[in-house]
Symmetry: C2
Subunit: 306 residues, 2 copies
Amino acid sequence: MKPPSSIIYGVVGIDDLETPAGRVRGVLGGPAVYAALASRLFAPTGIVSVVGRDFSAKHRKALSGIDLSGLCVHRSELTFRWKGRYTGSMDCAETIRTDLNVVASRRPQVPEFYRAPGRYVFLGNADPDTQLEFLSMMRQPRFVALDTMNYWISSKRGRLLEVIARCDALLVNEGEARQLTGEHGLVSAAARLVRMGPSYVIIKKGEHGTLLAGERGNRRSHFFSPSYPVRRVIDPTGAGDSFGGALVGFLASKGKVTESLVRQAIVWAGAAASYTVESFGTSALAGAGRRQVARRYSAFRGLVRF
Amino acid sequence: MKPPSSIIYGVVGIDDLETPAGRVRGVLGGPAVYAALASRLFAPTGIVSVVGRDFSAKHRKALSGIDLSGLCVHRSELTFRWKGRYTGSMDCAETIRTDLNVVASRRPQVPEFYRAPGRYVFLGNADPDTQLEFLSMMRQPRFVALDTMNYWISSKRGRLLEVIARCDALLVNEGEARQLTGEHGLVSAAARLVRMGPSYVIIKKGEHGTLLAGERGNRRSHFFSPSYPVRRVIDPTGAGDSFGGALVGFLASKGKVTESLVRQAIVWAGAAASYTVESFGTSALAGAGRRQVARRYSAFRGLVRF
């Protein structure tokens, strides 16, 4: 079998979500879901994850078009569940409840044909130990993008630094960039993160857009991309994961990685993530086709033209 | 006499400044000084303000190239003084002491030849009553850019709204945009501000750059510009005023105002302000020539190219 070019590793979950715009229960969620739905807009995509018996046919249907050979169902377990709330500015999620369920006891298995060299990989936020274990099963991936969060930065810093050293692109938000480096200014923080190993450091700044920093020879390079000006944010859940998945999927579709392509990937990723926040859960992202996303990609040129 | 095309109205002061990078005492400062030094890079510029007997020959020399017909010296008074401190991230200034001095008792006088129609005006942060009084003395200015601050938004909201309704461009920071509109999201806040009258709303987001919002017919228009990635911020004092002054000076140099020119003006303004923060007080801005600022202007294209 031909392996998907974009492999998404991470948690698949079932979410209860509450935002100033309303609430939903039992919707498909988790980093791997958002990332895969965004990645599949660009390239053949597979998920490596675990779920339980409550992962329904409806949930599976929502992932149509994504290769699920690496999604293992454990009938004796329940799927990861997260209950979260956003208030006010919706800047950050408040976790009301997390049930690890199947994630606590079962490690994802990587199908043999996924291990083929040359894959484009998204490591969704997870325990750095499991991220490293997953990476050790992949044979010479072409590109690895890593997402993480404050919890791992403080609790497993050493192991996280190992993953960072092995990734090509590190995706962090502003707070994580500061926490990892001790630098308040994001340009300085990004410069330090580049020295930790990744060729590309991508700081996601929410409504302020994205900062890309890289180093080419002795020359530091920067790229700034705004956020798409969404009229009304309904639910920010999964925006960062959609961004990461679209980034990896776009690069996988090109089959190579250059700074110029990474810049384009960031704009595509911003366009994809702008749909994610326009509905609860995955529905707006899942409903957006490549053509719709392409319209927003084009609109970015007008947003920065001078 | 031929009037300067760019007229800067606002406070001229003497500052004591402290930042994590060090401290200085008795340096020239105030919104009108930073704005005028930035404006003169582009167009003949004049200041309308008041100072006292402690405004020295050295201070005057630092304003060389700027028309000072509108800078009135009151020998019986002392110049406005501000003592401020920035700590940590230098996100906002802490005022240690303000002495209004001459500003409390004397209103600036506008030289007759400055009143000529067609001027490009920067209204530096000041009591909205005095801003309105100044505006009433100008005959049909071609373009008015307004700066203000949280203090006036809460204490003189009604009068401030009158000035906002009469300006062409409103310059505010993120906090002020939210305070004026009650909207957290900056795109929504900008939309509301546009409805208050200005053709152009410019939200200054510090290291996150600038958002321009305008309305052309039924169509809302947005422009995002990053901040120039300065290696090390020494002292942020005056960055916003330098930005405003450069904006007005650039447009004055063009002799017309279109959205395309406002976008260019924003990038020029960002380039000028990036020098301001690289030294204490006005020295880096005053030392930067048009050619240096032009180099950074060009660098902005690379920062957003994809």
